[in-house]
């Protein structure tokens, strides 16, 4: 159980992400080198940052991500983001309930026989990290709020957003119950990864609109 909790905290953090600009500059464990510090970087470009932000958020706002960042107790599913069949509940740890956890049906990889999607650590983002119904600015602001993200460093987050299997599952979403491929985010994986890195390297600035 303890192992699960640690795992869960890790995943949560992977999924939501990124610490705030406000805290990042004074944060000791924020250890990007001075050359890339947006305040001193000679090539900082607001438009470039915004473009990277938009590209990243186009992915994070996609149903492959938002379906598991629901605003209520029930996750969403499918291309139309309907409430998860059978109204399955998030449970206390975002992993479902006693007799009916996420892992009752979802395993560590997509199942082409059942059409049930899967990836390591399949679970829901906690309620305070709900993205459902929020604008990209709200989602990003929430991601940057140290009170809601566990106070993680930019670098850690960058790694997690760009390397973790559950996040990257979005580009390998498998087939549905009818055998039809699930829709992938509209930005190719490598472009997304590049955008996340770029945006963070440029200071993780959330545009004002």
């Amino acid at each position: 159980m303890k192992k699960n909790t640690i795992l869960f905290t890790m995943i949560t953090f992977l999924l939501i992400g990124i610490i705030t600009i406000g805290s990042s500059f004074s944060d000791n464990d924020f250890a990007i080198d001075q050359e890339n510090n947006p305040l001193t970087a000679p090539h900082f470009d607001e438009n470039e940052s915004k473009a990277a932000f938009d590209k990243m958020m186009t992915v994070l706002e996609h149903k492959r991500c938002v379906n598991c960042h629901p605003s209520g107790a029930i996750p969403r599913q499918g291309e139309d983001s309907h409430l998860h069949n059978f109204d399955v509940k998030r449970g206390e740890a975002g992993q479902g309930l006693a007799a009916y956890s996420c892992n009752t049906c979802h395993s560590d990889q997509n199942n082409d026989y059942s059409g049930v999607p899967g990836a390591p650590h399949w679970s829901l983002a906690p309620e305070e990290m709900a993205w459902e119904g929020k604008t990209r600015i709200e989602i990003a602001t929430q991601m940057m709020d140290s009170k809601r993200n566990g106070g993680r460093s930019h670098e850690d987050i960058m790694h997690h957003l760009t390397e973790h299997e559950l996040v990257l599952w979005a580009w390998n979403p498998g087939v549905d119950a009818e055998g039809n491929p699930r829709e992938k985010p509209p930005v190719p994986k490598d472009e997304y990864i590049q955008a996340v890195k770029q945006w963070i390297e440029l200071g993780a600035v959330i545009p004002s609109e």
């Binding site: 069949n85 059978f86 109204d87 082409d112 026989y113 119950a177 009818e178 055998g179």
Partner: protein, 724 residues
């Protein structure tokens, strides 16, 4: 006398078989004789089909075929009816025990395979199993008891009149002999005439809530279902069948599939492809690699279907007529429109079969409600004589009418013939949902008029439906052509209240482009929803209590009095109260189906858009309840399946295909939707058993709608009922 595995052969002599008293077949023949029916005569026939318990018809009616004695002094009953959850095997065992004088623990009930010679002429359906076999089974059991006594008397050297029987033991003075001992060496079953049956009050098992005899196997997970059947050297298959309504296979590319691991053979036919492999997972994986191209002559949509099936279109038949029709535009005439969607059976055990065809003989094991009809289908498809086809029926993982045509047995048989080995195949869930024999959608107009005394004086029900009984495998086509109406769609369609100046029911029938057929309770669910919702609305308009309003519409004969009784009991036991209290209210409705009246009071709450059934009080006159506990179980099941149908379920046509294709997406009542209280009150209005498994599905829809009307002011007229 036989051992456990061999059966008394059909050819053994018998002087006693029970009388086949007619049944649908006879009804058809009778009708054929006087082919030109006048409409009033037809309507008389409709009334009969609505109330009559159709007698059992079938072959192999000798008592010694049904009742097999074993060496260890137990009895095997070879039942022409199958067990699909309705508790029939238990009820039959109780009936057998009481006339044969054996303990119920000594009885095993099996679905009779066709090789026994016992083949039901129709089906396990219509909630008729116990009602149909009540008389013949008691007669057979009593006859066999007398036969055992006479054989025992010879062996014991006593006079037969000195023998008493109990628990499978003959006693004469101090001498005892087991039935098994009495029948030792007996090969000729020269059965005596049927003795007089015992008075009901002497029955010890009938009428008692004894536990189901199939309880333990179902709790420990024994392999009792068609799905669990195996044969030696069996291969597994998956089948491709059309997804689009009316589509035909044009071309298939099997090249990739053939290379998949475990694939043994791929067979291509006009309208299906069979993929045979060493395991089911391999067959399925290979099936998914087949690329198919279909000819789709017309792409149906939900809208085109709704336009196609409406009151006023198709074949018209007046199924009930008393007094002149109402003028729809006349003064004071109230009209309302209702509808119900396509319904799926969604039984948990998928359809399928295990077949072995070899040396001109075929054996097929499967879950079916029509063992006899399946035998015929397989024999015809293979060009075999009937006696060379043995159909072995298993326990069914749900029937609900879905297995009244199990022609898929033919595919299993063909695959086995081609491969020379036993083949097992079954439907995927998607195939189940898209190739169901659906409950047809319906469309209804209700019309009514009050008189000056605040009394409903005229009531009309106009209803449109797709096939239920028409084109069904088990219905003689002559019956359809003579009666001119779909007697399945008609169930519950006529107005049961006799004390009306004018009443009328008019059926509009069309055959739909996809298969529709029997779904538990047939037309009753939607017809009662329309009629009883409308009556409720008329009562509200008149400012009258809906229970009194209904009672005042009833006549005084025995039939009407039995309806009156269930209405009174339900209202009284529920303490029916008019109007809403906060977000809660009661709703009332009643119906009669197959001569068994039922009334229900529901207590419903509305939270946001969510309708929740909190409590159901049900009064049901099922006649003699052979097993009251299982009658209650059928009521509970009907109520919950009814709630599922009227608040949740709906199939939709999307771009020519039926959706959804799985549970969950096909929304059904779950644990959380099941009422916390279901209170059943059984009434014995007649002294014989009546159909049980379907009549309680009648009132539930309207009762819920009537409650919602009181809470929200909204009259919900379309199933499934939704507030938004």
């Amino acid at each position: 006398m036989t051992d456990q595995n061999s059966k008394n052969k059909p050819k053994s002599k018998s002087r006693r078989s029970f009388l086949i008293k007619g049944g649908i077949g006879t009804l058809g023949l009778m009708a054929l004789g006087t082919y030109v029916f006048r409409n009033p005569m037809r309507r008389k026939m409709y009334e009969m089909t609505e109330t009559l318990v159709v007698p059992y018809s079938g072959t192999g009616t000798q008592a010694n075929l049904w009742i097999e004695f074993t060496k260890d002094n137990t009895v095997v009953l070879h039942s022409p009816k199958v067990e699909m959850g309705q508790g029939t095997f238990t009820g039959l065992a109780q009936i057998l025990a009481d006339e044969l004088d054996v303990n119920i623990n000594q009885i095993t009930v099996k679905a009779a395979e066709t090789a026994t010679g016992i083949v039901d002429g129709m089906s396990t359906g219509g909630s008729l199993s116990i009602a149909q076999l009540w008389q013949p089974l008691r007669e057979m059991a009593a006859t066999m008891r007398e036969f055992v006594k006479s054989e025992g008397a010879k062996k014991m050297g006593v006079d037969v009149s000195s023998i008493t029987t109990a628990n499978g033991i003959l006693t004469s003075g101090t001498q005892t002999l087991e039935y098994a001992g009495a029948l030792e060496g007996v090969t000729e079953f020269n059965l005596p005439s049927t003795p007089e049956l015992r008075p009901l009050k002497e029955y010890k098992s009938v009428g008692k809530p004894i536990k189901r005899i199939d309880l333990r196997p179902k709790i420990v997970g024994d392999p009792i279902f068609g799905m669990d059947a195996e044969m030696p050297n069996m291969l597994h298959a998956a089948v491709i069948r059309p997804e689009h309504i009316g589509s035909k296979l044009k071309h298939a590319d099997i090249s990739e599939a053939e290379k998949m691991p475990g694939v043994v053979r791929i067979l291509e036919y006009d309208d299906w492809i069979g993929v045979i492999a060493n395991s089911f997972a391999e067959a399925l994986a290979a099936k998914n690699k087949i690329k198919t191209d279909w000819d789709i002559p017309k792409v149906w949509s939900e809208e085109t279907l709704r336009d196609y099936l409406r009151v006023g279109q198709g074949d018209k038949m007046i199924t009930q007529k008393s007094g002149a029709p109402l003028d729809p535009d006349g003064d004071g005439v109230v009209s309302m429109e209702f509808s119900s969607p396509i319904g799926a059976h969604a039984q948990l055990e998928p359809n399928g079969a295990v077949a072995h065809v070899t040396d001109g003989k075929a054996t097929v094991i499967l879950s079916t409600q029509v063992i006899g009809a399946t035998q015929k289908q397989v024999a015809e498809a293979l060009g075999f004589d009937m006696e060379n086809v043995n159909i072995v029926g298993t326990y069914l993982g749900g029937g609900f009418g879905r297995r009244l045509n199990t022609s898929h047995a033919v595919k299993a048989a063909i695959m086995s013939r081609e491969i020379g080995q036993p083949v097992k195949y079954f439907f995927t869930r998607k195939e189940e949902f898209q190739n169901d024999t659906f409950r047809p959608p319906t469309h209804h107009f209700m019309r009514g008029k009050m008189n000056d005394n605040g009394q409903l004086s005229a009531l009309e029900h106009h209803y449109a439906s797709g096939d239920v009984a028409i084109n069904a495998l088990i219905m003689p086509s002559v019956m359809t052509s003579v009666l001119g109406t779909d007697v399945g769609a008609m169930r519950g369609g006529n107005i049961m209240y006799a004390n009306l100046e004018r009443r009328r029911a008019v059926q509009w029938h069309k055959t739909l482009p996809f298969a529709t057929s029997f779904w538990r309770s047939l037309g009753l669910l939607a017809n009662t929803f329309a009629i009883e919702s409308f009556i409720d609305e008329m009562a509200l308009n008149a400012g009258r209590n809906p229970v009194d309003f209904r009672l005042s519409m009833l006549g005084t004969d025995e039939h009407q009095s039995r309806i009156r009784k269930v209405i009174e009991v339900a209202a009284e036991k529920a303490g029916y109260k008019e109007g809403a209290s906060g977000n809660r209210a009661m709703g009332f409705a009643a119906s009669i189906d197959a001569g068994a009246p039922c009334a229900q009071v529901v207590e419903v709450s509305v939270e946001g858009d969510t309708i929740k059934v909190e409590k159901v009080i049900c009064a049901f006159d099922c006649g003699l309840a052979v097993n009251p506990d299982q009658v209650r179980a059928q009521c509970e099941g009907s109520i919950i399946m009814g709630i599922s149908a009227v608040l949740h379920e709906k199939m939709t046509i999307k771009e020519g295909r039926l959706y959804p294709i799985n549970y969950g997406a096909y929304d059904m009542a779950l644990m959380k939707n099941s009422p916390r209280v279901i209170d059943i009150h059984l009434i014995q209005g007649v002294d014989h058993p009546l159909p049980v498994g379907e009549p309680p599905l009648g009132p539930i829809g309207a009762a819920i709608g009537n409650a919602v009307r009181r809470i929200t002011g909204k009259r919900l007229t379309d199933l499934p009922m939704k507030l938004d």
